[in-house]
Symmetry: C2
Subunit: 635 residues, 2 copies
């Protein structure tokens, strides 16, 4: 970690823990060198040395480090450096912490893939992506028939009676070469439209048989991306990552302020575009797929995420009367959004309902199918916000709960998403107060995810370590101790770091669950129903599949209802985006859902504040609404 | 002209001949400094020191010159430098030769303007540019009516029954700010279309009342540009310049070869784009008009010029069966062509007829009106190529003559366009052999333009200085002398340089006139007419207005017909572009002309070569076809 030496410059080796050796050029950062060899590290600052996410441990060898960003003094002292601002000065041995490696959930992908295709098949529609392909054989020109390439093409469209077709100017460039490449055999790519289909591409006949689609869920905290084979509907790979916009603020309001008052719309927009491009490039590289074969993109996100993705000024969303630029969107092209697919690939953006209920919810409802069922269903998407939909095939009402991003790990000291190393399940022995942990991937724990937090709090509550108001009691367990943020509960004592839940963490979690529960209560009362009328509760959101219903009810997040009424759906936003990637009928259905849903503004409800404050208790001030919890406490 | 001195750096002055002083910063080229002060020099290499067009004479003071490009040794010795690669090293006095100053034909512009508006008015159509403007008042959003900006906008379109309107994605960006700028008053800009109108822009209501159009004629040798007030149809200013593509070759074939075999399509494309941008920026700066107010562009050019302007691969144009990419063009946007207007300004490109008869001829025919007359007319556009059209309201046939660019000054040692300083008229005294010259602008001559060349050759022929075969006779005049290219005829003895016509120049001119005359002869015979059937001859092309018909007949370029049958129209391509800038009806008429015209390929005519070779004589081998010339010779 000294300054540059005067030694002769030659190539060096970076040796990983596994023994793998990667050659590094002089003055090239570790980040770049690893990337060149297919090892991708997480960065949310695009490698500017500020986010601190790409840290690696230098175990031996000399390096030149330009900044240590967000590294703690302890980390720096232990030999951690930021890969993005550090270059080797000779052969070095490094260790890459798990949290620095960009996640590609390969295993989950394969599994998910099968399920998804069966979900798609269950919808009873055929594969019909954004663009249709039509082969055409043009008669080659002769001296007697030497009309221009474009007129020849148009004549053939008329002969084949392909209907009104709009030809954008850009298609002229390259047309001469395209028609001649495969002896006047071409393939048309068109987008169906009510008035006149648009030609998006003209390919030489011999090429472009296989093609792929990308479905993206843009969450406020996390992003998910599916690469889909548009021929058979299979999901080829899945990637997910944190949304790098987090450095502009954890919630949508802060990001809107940053985008407008600080004039950072472009930066915030490019943060998420880069995230998507990074995930996509990683998958495409792994699979050896040419980005030019990516033929379409389908995107679902909440209204603010959608506007920031499209680089639309979001300021009016947060000012009365809360108006987004658009709730339905014309098709965009990947090129104008700077996505690294074929620039002419069309981008479908899910329609929104209102300023705080967006395309992710429309997508989720489509995936859940509640809009086609007779029974009264409650659909909950517990991500950064917590949007809820109540309804059936007759009506749908929706509201947004402002729950905050804590269940996705943000704002919680040792919070993380439910990926490898996350504590997803916690039990506290009633006698010994000893903990049993379950960790995603059965590895050494590196943090705690949403379901782990809910487990921890309800277990602490049941054992008396935590009281109804969310305060820790030091005398109830040796695991309660003073930490830098006040009282904290030690969940895992690690060699390098401990994993704890501190009182401010617990406060965040209680606020989130209170907002969700209050939202459901208000929505029900506004349309004249009660909790008992709900026949089914669908729980969507990243942490859904790990959630222990029992514990969530003890916490007071979910209503105290028969357990068989609950069903987990996982990330429904990405599932809906996948479905709409494959079918025009389902895209029409999504537009229909968006236009049918009625939005209720919770903040203008006279009873919201009362409901919210009552919900800050565990499980609730009205303990009678939680009979099974009451019974447990009494036991 | 020494190297950089060690003196302290401070600002310096460039003093022009007129006494005007311009402050120069250190290490800034003369070109840049002059430009900053509104003095534009001609450059066709974008200031790279290679074209030699921006030469200036340094009369006193020290400069640092990095390259002397195409300057001759004599010029360098006399103190000429290239303004683009030379910076002052202290105060300097310079003289700018006329040919280095970029031409803005201000005086002609005002005059032309009146004529043009009356031509437009004579067409009996109303002003209807590419885009229509429609004011709209949206109801501002309230808490009870808080649909998105886009839905609010669409709702108003429906309320006002404005019909099908396509909204491109790019309009979403900025929409939120636009609708709010003038309290929800907006102005729509739309393009009429058969299926569904396209919205090109949404402006705040209080802005964008005045708007302008640009009409461009892209000649192989010269470019002309009109800035038009789209409200009243007046031409505000006119600019013209050489086509910088000349450095890639004088004729279209050479440029096609350069574009394809040397892979220089992008460079050739940008050469003409830069020329147009330079002219436009100059005019807009002079008039203080914001480029964002330029609302549309209309372009006419021959097929190769059109393809190179659009950056379309032109290779198939020169290979059998001679096929261009397109003869009719979808609207492009200025931004995708890199034109420096508002990027969303639509660009209308005149339709072509065939690979060698293009939009400039369609535009010219439209301006001439021959397509609406009963009489049999011959339309000739004598530019770099020499295209001819024969027909009336019933039929039209057309051919291209490959005349070459000599009448526009190219390929002729002292050739130039008919701008200030060009010898446009020459008389040789039959007795004394003394010359009388007429110079455009009545200034000191700096070159000879097309009409001057025709005058010179026919006068030399009539006085016996030149024989029928185009050979000079030294003993017939003291003005005939040996020069570096063989025998030459001294037209003007200047202090700095003489102006001559050498035998290779004369040969070029004879080849051009032979091609034109042969073209007319073949076209007539192919459709079964003779010279006598022609009721009217319209002569278009830059040099038209200065041309002496009598002399052109003596030369054998024009048929020997009653003089009252001839009419000069000037640059009809730019006039047609002007007309179509203002009227949709006339644009429809242009499309109609293009589709009605039949193209004849001269090179496949069995008699073309005979006709051509006969035409290499003055006036022709068949002197009986030129009775008035025969009478003159006999006299």
């Amino acid at each position: 970690m000294s300054g540059t030496t005067g030694k002769e410059i030659k190539n060096m080796k970076i040796v990983l823990e596994s023994g793998r050796e990667i050659t590094s050029s002089p003055r090239t950062t570790i980040l770049e060198t690893l990337k060149g060899d297919g090892v991708y590290l997480t960065t949310s600052c695009a490698g500017n040395g500020t986010c601190g996410k790409c840290k690696v441990l230098v175990k031996s060898g000399s390096v030149n480090s330009e900044s240590s960003g967000k590294l703690s003094e302890t980390e720096t002292r232990s030999g951690y450096v930021l890969a993005c601002t550090t270059s080797p000065e000779g052969d070095i041995h490094i260790e890459i912490p798990k949290e620095s490696i960009m996640t590609v959930e390969g295993k989950i992908a394969v599994e998910t893939s099968k399920n998804l295709l069966s979900i798609f098949k269950s919808k009873g529609v055929s594969i019909d992506p954004l663009t249709r392909r039509t082969p055409l054989q043009l008669p080659p020109p002769t001296l007697d028939d030497n009309i221009s390439d474009m007129e020849r093409f148009k004549r053939e469209l008329a002969v084949k009676e392909l209907g009104c077709m709009r030809i954008p100017f850009r298609l002229l460039r390259g047309l001469a070469a395209t028609v001649r490449e495969d002896n006047w055999n071409i393939i048309l790519s068109t987008i169906k439209s009510d008035d006149c289909d648009e030609i998006t591409n003209i390919f030489p006949g011999g090429r472009q048989t296989d093609r792929f689609g990308v479905a993206v869920d843009i969450g406020t905290t996390t992003l998910a991306l599916y690469l889909i084979d548009l021929e058979d509907g299979n999901v080829i790979d899945v990637a997910s990552t944190y949304n790098s916009q987090m450095r502009f603020g954890d919630d949508v309001i802060t990001r809107i302020v940053q985008a407008t008052e600080n004039n950072e719309l472009d930066l915030i927009n490019m943060a998420v575009i880069n995230d998507i491009n990074n995930m996509l490039t990683l998958i495409l590289n792994n699979r050896g797929i040419d980005p030019d074969k990516v033929d379409q993109v389908v995107v679902a996100g909440n209204p603010t995420m959608t506007q920031l993705f499209l680089s639309l000024d979001p300021s009016a969303i947060r000012e009365e009367p809360y108006v987004p630029t658009a709730n339905t969107f014309p098709l965009a092209y990947a090129g104008e959004l700077k996505l690294k697919t074929r620039p002419s690939a069309p981008v479908y953006i899910f329609p929104s309902v209102a300023s705080y209920v967006g395309g992710d919810i429309v997508s989720g409802v489509l995936a859940s199918g509640i809009h086609k069922k007779e029974e009264l269903s409650l659909f909950m998407d517990i991500g950064t916000n917590g949007e809820i939909v109540l309804g059936n095939s007759e009506f749908m009402v929706t509201a947004a709960c402002s729950a905050g991003p804590c269940f996705e790990g943000s704002g919680i000291k040792h919070g993380m998403r439910a990926t490898e190393g996350a504590i997803e399940n916690i039990k506290i022995n009633r006698e010994t107060r000893e903990l049993t942990l379950k960790v995603v991937g059965d590895t050494k724990p590196i943090g705690i995810c949403g379901s782990g937090m809910i487990d921890a709090i309800s277990e602490m509550f049941l054992t008396g370590i935590l009281d109804q108001k969310g305060k820790l009691h030091k005398d109830e367990s040796r695991s309660v101790r003073f930490g830098p943020d006040g009282l904290e509960y030690l969940i895992y004592a690690g060699e390098e770091k401990d994993i704890v839940l501190a009182e401010p963490d617990i406060e965040n979690i209680l606020r989130a669950k209170a907002a969700i529960h209050a939202g459901i209560a208000i929505l029900l009362s506004e349309v004249g129903f009660t909790f008992d009328d709900i026949q089914k509760v669908y729980i969507a959101g990243g942490f859904g599949k790990f959630l222990d219903i029992e514990k969530a009810i003890i916490l007071g997040m979910l209503p105290d209802m028969p357990r068989e009424k609950f069903e987990f759906l996982g990330n429904t936003s990405i599932v809906g985006a996948y479905l709409c990637s494959l079918s025009r009928d389902l895209r029409d259905e999504a537009e229909d859902i968006a236009s049918k849903m009625t939005y209720l503004e919770l903040s203008t409800s006279s009873t919201f504040m009362d409901e919210y404050v009552s919900g800050l208790f565990i499980p609730h001030t009205n303990i009678d609404a939680f009979p099974t919890v009451k019974a447990l406490i009494e036991k």
